[in-house]
């Protein structure tokens, strides 16, 4: 039945065997500095593995959490304490992107958290929790300014989600000078104790 073919890739983070292929593919590609095409690993390039729909995975793995704990303060230019709530919300946010984008994101995170690929594509030698401010800044700037569209796209993916999760949260409205909801809406039924 065709409906079964509408299910999606397994999470790349679940096992090392599923992401191994993409890592090799990726390394080969960077080694050849090949032109970036639509078949890149984390941008809509998930391989043909029709199987059950991706199970919900609302929590970051420990490695992923370390990655975001390291990067969020640099992306947001804020203290680790101010950045941590974003990391707490990140797992659920990635989980609800829908199977297609979630699998791309999972692939990207797998590459950034697996030591050999972290060194190869991010140029960051120490583990993320030990990386210096300079390592992290250079990583973001390299990906932003790279002539490889693939890396630019990875940069946008990481920074956009982090920044949106921070600035979109009411706790941080003052960081953008957004005064919040117009007062007038408080009279609307959805803001009353028992909606009419």
């Amino acid at each position: 039945m065709k409906a079964i073919s509408m299910v999606s890739c397994p999470p790349a983070t679940a096992t090392s065997s599923t992401s191994g292929l993409s890592r090799r593919t990726f390394l080969k590609r960077t080694a050849m500095a090949s032109a970036v095409t639509a078949s890149v690993p984390w941008i809509h390039g998930c391989a043909s593995r029709p199987m059950e729909a991706m199970p919900a995975q609302p929590d970051l793995s420990d490695d992923q959490r370390q990655l975001f704990l390291a990067l969020a303060p640099v992306i947001l230019h804020r203290s680790p304490e101010e950045s941590e709530p974003v990391v707490d919300r990140m797992g659920l946010a990635i989980d609800s992107l829908g199977d297609l984008n979630r699998s791309q994101f999972d692939e990207l995170l797998a590459l950034l958290t697996f030591a050999p690929t972290r060194v190869a594509i991010a140029g960051v030698w120490p583990a993320w929790e030990d990386a210096s401010q300079k390592d992290k800044e250079e990583f973001l700037e390299d990906w932003r300014s790279s002539s490889l569209g693939l890396l630019n796209a990875g940069y946008i993916g990481l920074t956009k989600l982090t920044a949106a999760l921070h600035y979109g949260h009411p706790e941080n409205f003052e960081h953008s000078g957004y005064p919040g909801l117009p007062v007038a809406v408080q009279s609307l039924p959805q803001f009353q104790e028992s909606p009419v």
Binding site: M1, H77, S96, G177, V185, P189
Partner: protein
């Protein structure tokens, strides 16, 4: 009165609505007409066909969210009302795509700009694609009908400060500046149209045509993603849906089979071609999903001397077509200039910055204006559009190649927008481009923009208008459906949404969809009841 929520009332009156993720959802449903998708096209078709006395079932992959849920929470809106939680992009991730995913489709989150299809566009369809009965005179009564139904009129109040930048700058430069017609009734001028209108002032499908259809006996199945049509001997014999839960996960254990006399695809210009492709619908010339248009958007931000509060007030109220047909229908790429609202999460996401740069720009948000250019794609041989393709997992993605024809338009748009923003008094202007800096004067901007490298991923590109992919026309070698939306090879199937357009519109598309679907659904109703 505007505070009476028509959905709440309908639920109390016993509307027949099922949620496929729930235990009590039916496994089999039947209706005279089965409509897939509840956006601009699906909502309009449902209203007209149910008023004609036909039993109508609407199927929507998103949830039913309405006034009680619309609390102006941007991140909630992204997660619940936008496709892929607002992370959808083209295949190479070079263009971000904004599309709706809830009852009401993209009309639940759109910004209310309501333009009739421009005459040059209608003429082009008639001449190049042989579309029948499509000239302005034929279409005028249908646009009028929908303008009446959806209370469409030019915005009469003052534009907000964000839109005033385009108005003031454009007038300084001698451009023809106009007020945008909006589909609103007793609008509070709040600015949250993109989060689900909290007052029900926006006359989206959610509060107009869908309640009409339900009150006329229609039925709605939500959180049901149509996986494929069952095709038997040139006919659709049924279709299958799979539950899609609130967290965007498919639940293959919950499915529903649906049967009808006639089937209508209104799943939008990515969703409708995708269903045809998954169903392996007859397509002898390989046209399904081709000619997909995006009105690719580029934008500049400007810091103004006074606050513009780009998050408050009717989001779009001023436009100019100064550059849209300047070089004729088929010449250089034309563009329409408008203004987008900027709320914190959206702003933070589009800037393409990090670190100090991000923080400083975000701190200035109340002073930031943005102007955008909608590129009129599809009218030139070097603007063939993109293609909806299926990934191996059955999910659709748009492949949209970028070329010099587009880049020439992009550079021209950056320049015109910058000149306009400086003319309006901007202190600094910055194109949303990874290599752009802040420009302090028009002359500095002019020089720098001339040198900006234009290529995928350096230019920040967006689209909120997906069109095409099921081109209409009379010739089955060049079109997927006929002039009235009937599939050329499957006689009980129609397509009624933005995917039938042979090119982009050259204006925000919702009223083009409402008008054309009103015409085509009325014709179908007459055939089915005749």
């Amino acid at each position: 009165m505007s505070l009476q929520d028509p959905i709440e009332k309908g639920l109390m009156s016993g509307w027949r609505i099922d949620d496929l993720t729930r235990d009590d959802a039916p496994a089999l449903l039947e209706a005279d007409v089965v409509i897939v998708g509840t956006g601009a096209g699906g909502g309009t078709a449902a209203e007209i066909l149910s008023r004609a006395g036909l039993s109508v079932l609407m199927i929507e992959e998103g949830g039913l969210h309405h006034q009680k849920d619309f609390k102006l929470d941007e991140l909630w809106a992204f997660g619940n009302l936008y496709q892929e939680a607002n992370s959808r992009t083209t295949a190479d991730a070079a263009i971000s795509i904004l599309q709706g995913k809830s009852v009401g489709g993209s009309t639940t989150i759109n910004w209310t700009s309501s333009f009739r299809t421009p005459e040059p566009t209608l003429n082009y369809w008639k001449q190049q694609f042989g579309v029948l009965d499509i000239d302005s005179a034929n279409m005028a009564p249908w646009f009028q009908d929908r303008e009446n139904r959806l209370n469409i009129a030019p915005w009469a109040a003052e534009p907000n400060a964000n839109n005033s930048v385009l108005q003031n700058g454009g007038r300084q430069l001698g451009w023809n500046i106009k007020a945008i017609p909006r589909n609103v009734k007793a609008c509070w001028n709040l600015g949250y149209c993109g989060f689900g209108c909290p007052t029900n002032a926006k006359q989206s499908m959610l509060v107009t045509s869908i309640p009409d259809a339900m009150n006329a006996g229609g039925r709605l199945l939500t959180r049901a993603s149509v996986s494929q049509l069952l095709i038997e001997q040139g006919q659709i014999a049924g279709l299958d849906c799979v539950a899609l839960d609130a967290g965007n996960h498919l639940r293959p254990s919950r499915q529903c089979r649906v049967k009808g006399r006639h089937y209508i695809l209104s799943a939008g210009a990515i969703g409708s071609p995708a269903i045809l492709l998954r169903s392996e619908a007859p397509d002898p010339y390989g046209l399904t999903g081709k000619r997909t248009f995006l009105h690719p958007v580029v934008a500049n931000i400007a810091e103004m001397p006074e606050k513009v509060d780009p998050f408050y007030g009717a989001p779009q109220s001023i436009y100019t077509d100064e550059f849209n047909w300047r070089d004729g229908n088929e010449g250089k790429l034309g563009f329409k200039l408008e203004v987008p609202p900027l709320h914190p999460a959206m702003a933070a996401g589009v800037l393409g910055m990090h670190g100090e740069d991000l923080r400083q720009n975000m701190e200035r948000l109340p002073y930031i204006n943005s102007v955008l250019a909608l590129m009129r794609d599809g009218f030139h041989e070097e603007s063939p559009g993109g293609e909806v393709k299926l990934k191996d997992n059955g999910r659709p993605v748009v492949d949209y190649p970028l070329n010099d024809y587009l880049w020439d338009g992009v550079r021209e748009a950056y320049l015109q927008m910058a000149e306009c923003q400086f003319a309006a008094g901007a202190k600094r202007v910055r194109p949303l481009h990874l290599d752009s800096g802040d420009y302090r004067s028009w002359s500095e901007a002019r020089e720098a923009i001339r040198d900006l490298p234009l290529k995928a991923h350096r230019v920040r590109l967006f689209s909120a208008h997906v069109m095409g992919g099921c081109t209409m026309g009379e010739n089955s070698r060049t079109s997927v459906v006929n002039s009235f939306g009937r599939h050329h090879h499957l006689n009980n199937l129609s397509v009624m949404d933005g995917s039938v357009f042979p090119t982009s519109i050259g204006a925000n598309p919702q009223l083009s969809i409402y008008g054309l679907v009103a015409r085509n659904a009325s014709r179908l109703a007459a055939e089915l009841t005749g």
